[in-house]
Amino acid sequence: MSEEGIVKKFMYVNRKCPYGTIYALESLEVVLITAAFDQDVSLAFTDDGVYQLMKDQKTDGIGMKNFSSTYAALGDYEIKKIFIDKESLDERGLSISDLQELVWEDEDEDYAEKSSINLVSRAELSKIMSQQDVVMSF
């Protein structure tokens, strides 16, 4: 890990339900690995991907590990930019209050908690995507 390495803007786009396929979990693992290499990482949740951040997930019935609490660690990994597609929420009858609150701690302000969540329209999300160096879709 180099101190002065090249920092690229990586965006991970999450489009699928949390369980049933391995995409959501794999995306999260890749995100945590990338963040450990001091890259500029942001996450987008769109389409069924918005379900990944639903509060109070219970996975006992499907015999899968509930990894939804891991999203709350993203702030510790300096991932402070999480974009939620508002139209995807609307289409599913969801609102932002159905999702987990994700925060990061600002060390310079005595670890004050600041929200990482940005609710954006599809048009805004598309603009943000066009500003990235790397966009990975899961």
């Binding site: 693992e29 690995i33 963040a35 450990a36 990894f67 609490s69 891991t70 709350a72 990994y77």
Partner: protein, 110 residues
């Protein structure tokens, strides 16, 4: 593979990490540390207990950078630096401490 401690058997993987987090107890942590030639003291335990709490809350073992920052927040700046943590865990704080804590190898640990 398994590890025998005080007549109790613990399932471990090929790198010596516990196969099942729930089988962990302080005896197996002590035994792993003794086998590495460095018995645990209270400073080691602070970190091990922190890791277990972190895993309980977030379901992951934190990367070493995250561990360092969080230890600094919880236990003070004089402990939240890699020099201190590497002195305690010379094989790498995340890797070695996670092993003693019964956690899987940290995500992002390469």
């Amino acid at each position: 593979m398994s590890l025998e401690v005080n007549g109790k058997s613990y399932e471990v993987d090929e790198e010596g990490y516990l196969a099942d987090l729930n089988t962990w107890d302080s005896d197996v942590a002590e035994a792993m540390a003794n086998a590495d030639g460095a018995p645990l003291d209270e400073n080691h335990w602070e970190v091990i207990n922190f890791l277990r709490e972190y895993y309980e809350e977030y379901q992951i073992a934190p990367a070493v950078r995250v561990l360092t920052k969080q230890i600094g927040k919880k236990l003070g700046k004089e402990k939240g630096n890699s020099k201190y943590l590497y002195e305690l865990f010379p094989y790498g704080p995340a890797k070695q401490a996670c092993k003693y804590a019964g956690l899987p190898k940290p995500t992002g640990c390469v």
